[in-house]
């Protein structure tokens, strides 16, 4: 879908209205509005999001949107012990959902074999604990300059 819609092609797929608009600024990527793009990306999986972030700066900004990553994380958690707003305020303060996923949840996917299943509460709690420790370690202060250790 992304590659097929090219303004220059003569394929009549996407109708004349697009052609009329495209005369102003030719662009090789689909000319979706922000909302539409967001809705598409919101349903994408993590790998797609990673790829999407490489397309253009506009796409990157949207693919890295915290709301999208929040739903990525919540999609996999079996049960939340707390209200989503509560979780959101804590996680955003400690670096965000994308960081949570990339640094502390993605490694569990790598170690897991077979199909993806829902993450357990313990994995959720562990990843949040590690996020806290990581954030604390990076804070300025007496040991703020301490280099973060490799792995966990």
């Amino acid at each position: 879908m992304k590659r097929a819609v090219s303004v220059d092609t003569s394929s009549s797929s996407s109708s004349s209205s697009k052609k009329l608009k495209s005369e102003e600024s030719p662009s090789p990527i689909p000319d979706l509005t922000e909302d539409l793009l967001y809705e598409v990306l919101r349903r994408a999986d993590e790998r797609t999001l990673g790829a999407a972030a490489c397309v253009s700066s506009r796409w990157r900004r949207l693919a890295q949107d915290e709301r999208i990553w929040e739903s990525v994380c919540l999609r996999h958690w079996a049960a939340l012990g707390c209200a989503p707003s509560q979780l959101r305020s804590v996680v955003m303060a400690l670096g965000g959902f994308r960081k949570l996923y990339v640094s502390y949840l993605a490694p569990t996917v790598a170690t897991r074999s077979g199909r993806r299943r829902r993450w357990s509460r313990d994995e959720l709690q562990m990843s949040l604990s590690m996020l806290s420790v990581g954030f604390f370690g990076m804070m300025g202060g007496p040991m703020g300059k301490f280099p973060p250790g490799k792995g966990l």
Partner: protein, 586 residues
Amino acid sequence: MKREYPDSGTSSSGEVAPKGKLPASAPPSEEDVDELLAALGYKVRSSDMADVAQKLEQLEMAMGMGTAASTAPVSDDMAFFPETVHYNPSDLSTWLDSMLSELNTPPPPLPPPPMPPPPSVPSFAPAESSSVNFDPNLISQSDPSRERKRMRTGSGSGSCSSSSSSSLGRGGAGTTIGSESIEPAPVATPALPVVVVDPQEAGVRLVHALMACAEAVQQDNLKAADALVKQISLLSSSQGGAMRKVATYFSEALARRIYRLRPPVGPISDPSTFDSFADLLHMHFYETCPYLKFAHFTANQAILEAFAGCKRVHVVDFGIKQGMQWPALLQALALRPGGPPSFRLTGVGPPQPDNSDALQQVGLKLAQFAHTIRVDFKYRGLVANSLADIEPYMLEDESGDGEPEAVAINSVCELHGLLARPGELDKVYHTVQKVKPKIFTVVEQEANHNSGSFLDRFTEALHYYSTMFDSLEGSNGSPTEPPSPGQPDQVMSELYLGRQIFNIVACEGPDRTERHETLAQWRRRFSQAGFDPVHLGSNAYKQASTLLALFAGGDGYRVEEKDGCLTLGWHTRSLIATSAWRVMAA
């Protein structure tokens, strides 16, 4: 077209020694060559045997002096051995002569040791000359017999090496790493043709030498102990990996005990830098391996469960250090259904020699963290030389309004130090009883390093720290290549453990603060002091398992549940235990 292989003298001596091929070089007269040595590829006349034995011990002394002076755990042994490949070691007698002359002229190029024991270096020299008189009595008796033994067991080395793994005790699977580092062994063999034939055998001898030295120390036979320390240095250079490091630390500790270097000299023990350096090592240890993380997460889980439903909570940390345990608990409280309680933390720490207020700085950092996640936070720092100095009034809630506080007391590896001075532990128990906490979480090393007998203590510690070092090695080196010794995190973690070894072996009385005791021993103490155990729930167990699953390095770690307490260990050996207690209902 056949290639004529040159004299075996140019080939790496590794081929000559273990394979037992007879070299084609011009040997001493064929008659009356010692048979057993010939089987190994050495041509020595039977009549020369005593002479060769004496030269061997001289060589050993010459090399022993070199390696004993540098007790640095990461010494580069390759630099020490001169270019020996061009000598033909099969003609043992002349080869020894050439080795001795070479070693006696240029000083061996040793790297400067990072932990310089300056007073001990001059004292080594006179001790050396006195022990040279002593040693021939000790060693020349055993040397020819050792040689004989070597020949005989050479054929049975298969059975010997299997016993070497078992003699190193629990977790010994990892300690035969010495055989992996094949590179040092062949180069080592020309220098020590008889003493070190097989790294695994040398490993067994190393353990025996360590035990013999400890026994000599216990019997106050300091001369024998000194000689053995030198032997240990020699033997440990033939090993690689964890075994070498453990042996180096233990032999250094023994040397300190023998020479009464207490407190140990060097940057580690220098009082003005002591605490900040100790904290740095502690941080590295925290990052490198899962033991402290396990301790923090399991204790936090117990505290979290104990605080269920409480609106005002107070945590007392008996050793706050850098406060690494508390961000995770604060975060868990922030995500509690119903919102976080108001949180108060009392951090206890030793006085800082340079008058910096480390306790306050940690408090500020934690306060900032709590503010970020919107948890109501209060902090108080308590400076105390010993936990016994804490009185209940210091932990009281000064605001005293509204709901009473729920108190949790947390101690990670702080209680064993109290056993060094009589009465201190009882005083702490008494204070805790007065405060009436909801829970008292305790983490301690799972080992008995407090036995009255020095030898028992030494043996226990040797097993414990061998396993510890194995786990560091196992989780940091890749399985396909020997781990590079230069990784700073690992080295710092090893130094952190090394200081504990020094304390256990070299110190006595109130100075000996690393008085670890087993979970069973602590259980007895706690129940005698009027505490009931609190079972750590399945949540804590699951947390620990998840931690290990995430911790990519090393599958050797094991979490076990023992009567409501959790232990983390390496393979079959438990190394650290978390338990929780509450005051016995009256």
